[in-house]
């Protein structure tokens, strides 16, 4: 210690000047990163559900999030419905949009290849965005936080109560999805479609219905993400695309098709962004996330938790 005494003392001096200790700062970066990461993770889960059943990357996934936020604002703030009514109603409406997306954009396509279907979802996302702009205009909207806006002090870091809701809803979503896929017949049937759609239809599983269900499920999860995000970040018609990009980043980072991978990918992405912005420079915030993503792909092309074997079988 004695040998390198001068740099640490300088460092201590700097710390003393600061109003918030470095430890508290790091804690703050972690909390913020995990919250933002939870949103990315939820978008990523939505990507994976559809991908697992259809191999489509649904590029309209971000629009579900946007619709969730805006419809919730409409029902809760404009129409004055209480939150416990507006919340499920919003999820139902967005789920219907997800079903329509499957029925109107995916199913009618003749001789579908995965690529044409992905392009169809791009078109759908543009249409959804345009309709949202017509309905709500270009202004952002706010939603009251679920349990007030008084921040909680936690070892010098500040936690908005809404952060707990975000992380809590991620946990609830993950638990429910796990139960659904592991314990219910429909869930197992969906997993079967994911493994081998031809074999699944041979044993009597209605693959078309499973595809419809996958779109409904990921729309519902997108809606939840939108509802819990809006009190933190506001919501406007234009938000979807960027969230989809971040969510997709999380998917690739965690491994396409892997649910634990989506959660890990989302949380890691959010945390890297937060630490990068705080400790190094916010101008390169997105760059840090991309560098980590590229590095992971170089070392393990299937993503953190993705399986190489599955990647080889998939068409996309």
């Amino acid at each position: 210690m004695g040998v390198v005494s001068s740099p640490p003392s300088l460092f201590m001096l700097k710390l003393k000047m600061e109003k918030i200790s470095l430890a508290s700062q790091l804690l703050q970066y972690l909390i913020t990163g995990l919250t933002v990461g939870s949103i990315y993770a939820m978008v990523a889960i939505g990507f994976n559900i559809i991908y697992n059943v259809t191999e489509i990357i649904n590029l309209a996934q971000g629009e579900f999030v946007m619709l969730g936020g805006l419809i919730m604002v409409f029902l809760h703030v404009a129409a004055g419905l209480p939150i416990f009514l507006a919340f499920p109603l919003t999820i139902i409406v967005v789920t219907l949009v997800g079903m329509l997306l499957d029925r109107l954009a995916i199913r009618p396509i003749r001789q579908p290849s995965v690529l044409t279907l992905i392009i169809a979802t791009i078109a759908a996302s543009i249409i959804i965005k345009g309709i949202a702009m017509f309905i709500w205009g270009k202004d952002p909207f706010d939603l009251p936080a679920f349990s007030g806006r008084s921040p909680i002090d936690f070892f010098g870091a500040v936690i908005q109560p809404q952060y707990f809701w975000v992380i809590g809803f991620l946990i609830v979503t993950v638990v429910l999805l796990t139960l659904f896929f592991e314990k219910t017949i429909i869930g197992k049937a969906m997993s079967a479609c994911a493994d081998n759609p031809d074999a699944a239809s041979l044993v009597g599983i209605n693959v078309k219905q499973m595809i419809l269900l996958s779109f409904s499920l990921s729309a519902a999860i997108g809606a939840v993400a939108g509802i819990i995000l809006t009190p933190i970040a506001l919501m406007d018609y234009n938000r979807g695309a960027m969230l989809a990009v971040k969510g997709f980043g999380a998917v690739v980072l965690g491994g396409l098709g892997s649910f634990p991978g989506a959660i890990l990918g989302g949380l890691v992405l959010g945390t890297i962004e937060s630490f990068g912005a705080g400790l190094i420079h916010s101008g390169y915030k997105d760059a840090f996330a991309l560098i980590v993503l590229l590095a992971v792909l170089f070392i393990k092309p299937s993503g953190l938790l993705g399986s190489v074997e599955i990647t080889k079988i998939k068409k996309f």
């Binding site: 700062q25 960027m242 915030k285």
Partner: protein
């Protein structure tokens, strides 16, 4: 039946000629705005304002008894379309003066046309490069009415100096507006003896700026300047409040904050925030003896009554541009060279964004003192800062 058709055609033709002959007695002003497309938040209120003002002028007797004919084209935010529209206005429609375009990039793209066709152009975009050539001289035929970003930076720094603030952090959006603000703040800070201890940024779609603000909190500056447009600037403000930084650190917003909707969205976090704004954004807050009080009040009332939406500061730029053009037309008539000369020497034009004093060395005609009032958010409304 055939006869009837011929007669109808003839009648139509002659009435068309009558219409043309009648048109000779109008004064034409051309306008190019980004009414639709990515910059429609600029062009839409600009067009609405220009159309409304033209109607008002015609109701009040037009331009020296002649009807004011406003020809508006939409450039859709596209530089090529801007170019075509301006060329058409100058060569085919033969307007006396062109107002717009809405965007700095598009304005720069049509600067050569104004010089080539010797037609005065009053731009509604902010960049100083629109009126200042590479040689540092003012472009002969081009004027602009919006304040430069440097003026907002100066207004903020001047206010800081008065409050004894010397150590600040800046946080800016990564949009064109935010980047321009960032470079002006960094460039001008030393002139006011202000040290920038943190220079942070955020994307236009970011969800949370807590990390950047936590870093700033650690550096303990006396003030923060937040410079961007869109909803993210409000998120910064909300994160700032949630981090408990209010009270210790003075918060300044750029002139991109000038909509009451932003105060509302901040959900109480905007209280006590300082922002430099043009007069038309805050007509009620202006003192009775303010030179722009009357025009700002009248514009706000007329616009809200007609379109049932609040005035946008961008609409004010169209008001200033068309107002100046009509003022020149009334004084010298439709002579392009004389209009140019008149505008270059115009002093004391009371507009929505300041009292304009043009000269051969200044085709913007504004100083930051004319262009901005320092406004503070008080009880959820704008108020003059002391």
């Amino acid at each position: 039946m055939k006869k009837l058709f011929i007669i109808a055609t003839l009648v139509l033709f002659t009435s068309g000629f009558v219409g043309l002959a009648f048109a000779e007695d109008t004064v034409k002003v051309g306008a190019v705005f980004s009414v639709t497309g990515r910059a429609s938040f600029l062009g839409d209120p600009e067009k609405k304002t220009a159309v409304m003002l033209a109607d008002e002028i015609n109701k009040a007797g037009g331009v020296n008894g002649k009807k004011l004919e406003l020809i508006v084209y939409d450039d859709e935010g596209d530089a090529t379309k801007t170019n075509l529209a301006v060329k058409k206005l100058m060569t085919q429609d033969k307007v006396c003066v062109v107002i717009g375009p809405s965007l700095s990039g598009n304005s720069l793209a049509v600067v050569p046309l104004a010089e080539q066709f010797k037609t005065p152009l009053v731009s509604c975009a902010a960049s100083y490069k629109i009126v200042t050539g590479d040689d540092g001289k003012q472009r002969q035929w081009v004027f602009k009415v919006p304040q430069s970003d440097s003026m907002a930076a100066e207004a903020i720094f001047d206010h800081m100096k008065k409050k004894g603030i010397s150590k600040i952090a800046i946080i800016t959006g990564t949009t064109g507006f935010g980047k321009s603000g960032q470079s002006e703040l960094v460039r001008l800070a030393p002139q006011y003896g202000i040290e920038i201890v943190a220079d942070e940024s955020y994307g236009p779609q970011d969800t949370d700026m807590t990390a950047q603000l936590t870093k700033i909190k650690g550096l303990a500056p006396q003030a923060i300047v937040n410079w961007s447009i869109g909803p993210t600037q409000v998120t910064v403000l909300r994160n700032f409040r949630d981090l408990g930084m209010r009270g210790d650190i003075v918060f300044y917003q750029s002139h991109g904050f000038g909509s009451k909707k932003n105060i509302e969205l901040a959900a109480g976090a905007a209280e006590g925030v300082y922002t430099p704004l043009g007069a038309c954004a805050t007509p009620d807050a202006l003192p009775a003896d303010h030179p722009q009080k009357k025009v700002a009040m009248e514009y706000n009332q007329a616009y809200t009554a007609l379109y049932n939406e609040p005035v946008s500061t961008f609409g004010g730029h169209a008001w200033d541009a068309l107002g100046l053009a009509v003022d020149a037309l009334k004084a010298v008539g439709c002579d392009r060279e004389k209009i140019r000369e008149y505008l270059e020497n115009k002093k004391g034009f009371v507009g929505q964004h300041g009292v304009f004093n043009f000269s051969a060395d200044d085709h913007n005609g504004l100083t930051w003192q004319d262009a901005f009032n320092m406004i503070v958010v008080k009880n959820g409304d704008w108020a003059m800062a002391d």
